[in-house]
């Protein structure tokens, strides 16, 4: 092949590949635009004020195709399939209690993503904004609304040039004092002080004394349920392993959590742990749940599951917390459930 021929082949290939690449981008852009159009048969979503103190409602992040996709929305708890009211607030993850909301947002910078946590009042007005070190994962507010916590995934922070670790922060919404990293807390593991560079915390859930919390501690390939004290800056393992993303029941007696059922694989089942007896009850959901469940009331938990036939969207499901009954579809095209 002469140099001229080679150059010709290169030019043709560049044009072809540029065409294919442009095609990929245009297709994705078209699909993205399509998602912002309401779909026939989809839930009715209208813009309107969402008030976090209005009881008898369920808040969630709406993912139904339409102009209000990824916005915080609310439906009457008695009619979860009914018309949704969407507020003008986009979140990747959301939670609320007693009129305090926390919204984790993700945006795109020039060479990296830019993420932030926004703490909101009952009318979803921004009170404070905190930059995040990574991709939003979990968010929680204490029952009183005084404490908020979030977990993000941080890239490039652990061992050999590695891939991921988590960072969990807690903020007091009365003083705005932030505890940026739970890994700075004193850890007692199996009765002994413990510290390792691969400590990772995720999935905080608060008790109603505005001090006690539960979370998952991951270290050396294992995960532990820990109880912590914000005031004492300490956490203690409860002797129960394989408890991820705990969620404390409103009466404070039980913890719903996801339990890894196949070592090394992303396959989790939802369980409820009785804190007095440490007895675990499998729930009637048989699919893999990778979410921090939320208690709708003392008898029911709700969580997001990938939509059937579409792994990129989720529906909210609920299941009785005592292991009886069956899972049923609570709100289609939604994530991040929180009872108001």
């Amino acid at each position: 092949m002469t140099p001229k021929h080679r150059l010709l082949v290169l030019v043709v290939a560049v044009l072809l590949l540029a065409g294919v690449g442009t095609g990929f981008v245009l297709h994705a852009a078209y699909r993205a635009a399509d998602k912002d159009k309401p779909r026939a048969g989809g839930p009715a979503v209208g813009a309107g004020p969402v008030t976090l103190t209005r009881t008898g409602q369920l808040a969630f992040v709406n993912s139904a195709p339409g102009p209000h996709r990824t916005e915080v929305a609310a439906v009457p708890a008695a009619d979860p399939g009914g018309a949704r009211t969407a507020a003008d607030l986009k979140c990747a993850r959301f939670y609320t209690a007693s009129g305090t909301g926390v919204c984790l947002q993700t945006g795109l910078g020039v060479v990296s993503q830019t993420n932030r946590a926004v703490v909101l009042d009952k009318d979803l007005r921004v009170l404070r904004t905190f930059p995040l070190a990574g991709t939003p994962s979990r968010a929680r507010v204490s029952p009183s609304g005084h404490l908020a916590a979030w977990t993000v995934f941080v890239g490039g922070e652990s061992y050999g040039a590695a891939f991921f670790s988590t960072r969990t922060s807690i903020v007091d919404t009365r003083t705005w004092k932030i505890l940026p990293n739970l890994e700075d807390f004193a850890i007692t593991l199996d009765g002994r002080p413990y510290h390792a560079v691969d400590d990772n915390f995720w999935g905080v859930t608060f008790a109603d004394d505005d001090d006690t919390f539960y979370a998952t501690l991951g270290t050396a390939g294992r995960t532990y349920l820990v109880r912590g004290s914000v005031a004492h800056r300490s956490v203690t393992s409860l002797g129960v392993q394989n408890v991820e993303c705990p969620s404390l029941s409103p009466d404070g007696t039980r913890i719903a959590f996801k339990k890894r059922v196949l070592h090394g694989a992303s396959l989790w089942h939802e369980y409820v742990l009785d804190l007095r007896t440490l007895r675990q009850t499998p729930l009637a959901e048989h699919r893999s749940v990778d979410d921090q469940a939320a208690w709708i009331d003392n008898r029911t938990v709700a969580y997001a599951l990938p939509k059937e036939g579409d792994t990129k969207s989720t529906d909210l499901w609920s299941v009785p917390a005592d292991g009886s009954g069956a899972a049923h579809l609570l709100i289609p095209d939604a994530s991040s459930p929180a009872p108001l």
């Binding site: 540029a18 994962s137 941080v154 890239g155 040039a161 988590t166 991951g218 990778d290």
Partner: protein, 435 residues
């Protein structure tokens, strides 16, 4: 077949005192390989940049499991590098093996559009790394074979600068696509695949294969002015076997270089730890954390060529040691932690200097002492030794951090680096082989 290789003998049929060759800076082969690396790095860094977002936001996975896998990948990649280097020597076709490596990685990109769960995704990423491991040594061997000894530092400098340019452009491309198409991760993977294919194509079209080695030998015979590697024409004709590859370690100069690479690798704290320490010492906002590697890359990019040229002029040993002195200075700054706004810039600049002065200079030095027919094996030997040493350092540093805290762990590394650099300075002093 390779008619366009006129430039290779031009660069190779060199003037004595290669530093004068200003007009013909590097051979076209090096530029072609640099272009391949640039394009391929755009492709792979596009994927790396959006992978966390994709896993968590789009797939809704909690990707903690990858942390443990990553160590395994690195180990595999290092061992594959050894295989790739030796295989290239054995079939006497560096281009073929490098092409297989680039091709394997390219095949993985469209697969990313299809797989949607953690397990298969892990397999695809492992194959991608295997491709990377496979291509590294043959590619460096091609760079060294197409450059006369006097300009090898410059050649590797040019290649590394182009490579790093791709690494910086990759994330920018990816985030531009995500801006144009919300949630368009498949478009990112698709465009990444297009870049990868283009990279392979540039390699196939513009990088000479088997012919290169023969041509080099001819050029060396004609030129025969520069102090070349101890290439015995008779030995070069015989097929290469494993015993010969390991026999390389009998070359005192290569043994010295390998030992130094391993020793220094054992005290080179991984980038992630450097950035983490810097963030803590300088109180940098967490949102800036992902941008810290860019600072290193920018300095690396700017200084790779000057450092390579300098290495050709004053000797690779000095530049290589100066690079480690830069790293040592960065450690010292992190330990001292002066309350100045300049601290992050200084540390990142020194970190970039370290890469500019070592990343291309080491293979240039290795190429000087390894016979042509074993070039791939020799480069792989040093590369693998260095990679495994750095991995061990990461594990040890993590453990030391746990037991002693970050300050003392870094102090330990700094003392280790000082001792190893001093040892390297003695071991590498001129005398045996080339400078």
């Amino acid at each position: 077949m390779y008619l366009a290789d006129r430039a290779a003998p031009d660069g190779a049929g060199t003037l004595p005192g290669a530093a004068r060759g200003r007009t013909r800076a590097v051979s076209s082969v090096v530029l072609a390989l640099g272009a391949v690396s640039l394009i391929t790095d755009i492709s792979s860094e596009m994927v790396t940049a959006v992978l966390p977002l994709y896993l968590v936001i789009s797939l809704g996975l909690s990707p903690l499991g990858f942390g443990t896998l990553d160590g395994v990948y690195n180990g595999v990649s290092a061992l594959v590098q050894l295989t790739g280097g030796h295989l290239a020597d054995r079939v006497r076709n560096h281009k073929l093996v490098a092409g297989l490596g680039y091709g394997l990685s390219a095949l993985c990109k469209p697969l990313l559009m299809i797989v949607h769960s953690l397990g298969p995704l892990g397999v695809v990423l492992a194959l991608e790394r295997t491709g990377k491991g496979l291509r590294t040594s043959p590619r460096d061997a091609l760079i060294s074979l197409s450059s006369p000894p006097g300009t090898r530092g410059r050649a590797f400098g040019v290649h590394r600068a182009m490579d790093t340019t791709g690494a910086v452009l990759g994330p920018v491309t990816a985030f531009l696509i995500l801006r144009a198409a919300a949630d368009g991760y498949d478009a990112v993977f698709g465009v990444s695949a297009c870049f990868a294919v283009l990279g392979v194509l540039v390699l196939v079209l513009f990088v000479p294969g088997k012919a290169l080695v023969a041509q080099q030998r001819r050029a060396a015979a004609e030129g025969a002015t520069s102090a070349s590697a101890p290439a015995e024409p008779a030995a070069a004709e015989r097929p290469v076997d494993l015993r010969q590859a390991f026999g390389l370690l009998r070359l005192p100069r290569l043994r010295a270089l390998t030992a130094c690479a391993v020793l220094l690798g054992l005290t080179t704290v991984s980038d992630a730890f450097v950035y983490l320490l810097l963030q803590r010492r300088a109180d940098i906002g967490e949102e800036w954390f992902p941008l810290l590697p860019l600072g290193t890359a920018a300095v690396f990019l700017l200084l790779a060529v000057p450092a390579g040229v300098l290495a050709d002029r004053v000797g690779r040993r000095w530049v290589f040691l100066a690079g480690h002195a830069g790293l040592l200075a960065a450690y010292a700054l992190l330990l001292w932690g002066p309350r100045t706004a300049a601290l992050p810039y200084l540390v990142l600049a020194l970190h970039g200097v370290f890469y500019a002065a070592t990343d291309g200079v080491l293979p240039a030095a290795v190429a000087d002492v390894v016979p042509e027919n074993l070039r791939g094996s020799g480069l792989a030997l040093v590369g693998t030794g260095q990679a495994l040493a750095r991995f061990c350092c990461s594990l040890a540093f993590g453990a030391a951090w746990t037991v002693w805290g970050d300050g003392r762990a870094l102090f330990g590394s700094a003392v280790g680096l000082l001792l190893c650099a001093a040892a390297a300075g003695i071991v590498l002093r001129p005398g045996g082989g080339t400078r």
